[in-house]
Symmetry: C2
Subunit: 286 residues, 2 copies
Amino acid sequence: MTRLDTVAIVGVGMIGGSLGLAIKDRRAARKVIGIGRTSSSLMKASRLGQVDRTTTDLAQGVADADLVIVCAPVAKVAPLLKEAALHSRPDALFTDAASTKHEIIRDIARSADLAPRFIGSHPLAGSEKSGPEAAVADLLLDRTVIVTPVRTNRAEDIRRICRFWESLGAHVVRMSPEEHDRIVAATSHVPHIVSSILAAATPSAMLPLVARGWLDTTRVAAGDPELWKEIVASNRVNVLKALSRFERVFASFRGAVEQRDWKKLNGLLERAMKTRTRLENDALGS
Amino acid sequence: MTRLDTVAIVGVGMIGGSLGLAIKDRRAARKVIGIGRTSSSLMKASRLGQVDRTTTDLAQGVADADLVIVCAPVAKVAPLLKEAALHSRPDALFTDAASTKHEIIRDIARSADLAPRFIGSHPLAGSEKSGPEAAVADLLLDRTVIVTPVRTNRAEDIRRICRFWESLGAHVVRMSPEEHDRIVAATSHVPHIVSSILAAATPSAMLPLVARGWLDTTRVAAGDPELWKEIVASNRVNVLKALSRFERVFASFRGAVEQRDWKKLNGLLERAMKTRTRLENDALGS
């Protein structure tokens, strides 16, 4: 594919809407079809210039697409992919934007028609906000998109998917679905859980006295509970391993405070500070 | 005190420098004296217009002040206050900006001359940045300053300190030093420790793949380890209690994931989300 002809975006929320805007801004495709469950949200996306045409009929929406991108909560991705594959062109490619990859790929592996044409993607550009109103054209600019090919994918198709993300301004990193899920458990899912624990563990009477540190540390806890429950459920084993790693470091910190071992506490805080400041000036698009 | 004549700021870093700027901006005093250990940092503060005069000699710097504000790491506050009291006017008032209050007040309680004239303060306006270069004039604008009077303070002096902070644009909340320390353990010290644990528990090889969620959740971990070690050491019992509360909620979250109790996980995430979003649009100056 040099330039895409028709991209179908299944699910036009914050991510799907942002992709639509970016595709149209950068002329990465001739036409963007927005597919959604409710016409009210599709109308919003259309009014905001995120898509050229909209439909609530999945079969009709994907019929002409050479690329179908499913932007739905993780548990809905595989069913939507299977349904879309039944109604799309035989040469269409499929990708997604979900936060975990292994479960989706396992789920569609037996669809001999779909499996070779689905190449999983995860744009590292989430937000606690949702809906087409929260979409922004530069969501992917200088961000990382992890692409997780498997053995049944064709090399040329993998390259096409990578080039698609790059055409929206993103950096692509390739790895296996298993490695992806192991990494995001530590870099995203456990931070979300820990942030939620902090928010939930703060007594309400104290809330009027929180400052910027608390607000930053708990920001992601404002994310959609239903969505995050699904993400955690689809990455349970890796999340439990990353929680155990967190717990071991927690025990070191607590032990230092309990035993008044201030030298040890200083060392632990220094290790954390060094890890954090190493990223301070990185081009992470933070 | 209608308007102050001379304010002495002991320690002109991010907080001290910001106070100097705010005092001069709002003409809250006729003259601001900056007192520091090194002339290089004092020169910076002077060049940045944060103070009118500077000295490395504490005795000389506080001699004419009607208000002395010690902006130093928590373990240094009480020694500096005692030293300053020896050389200041008999009617001078004293306050500070440290993150814990009980230990400082206990430490100076036997200084019969100083204790009645020291009224502890804690501006809830920290930053992971430090030094006079990081100072900003509106650091306190619409922020909260907790003032922690004790029985030996005169009502008129307490009012003067509260009015001083209000004159810089802050809201004042009054409470006992013990209550203050109990609250900040949960709203600030444990979030800092947890943020540090998250940073330290993330394997280095994964760092290039972190996204905005990780960066926000770990931002405060970039703070000065020496400073935070002192803060935790000066509030050990409250921090341990707040860590235990965190641990109990952690066990609930972990249990839900372990037992695949997704309904329970959803409930926990929802409780966290509701707590966090309640503050989303608050005038917290986040």
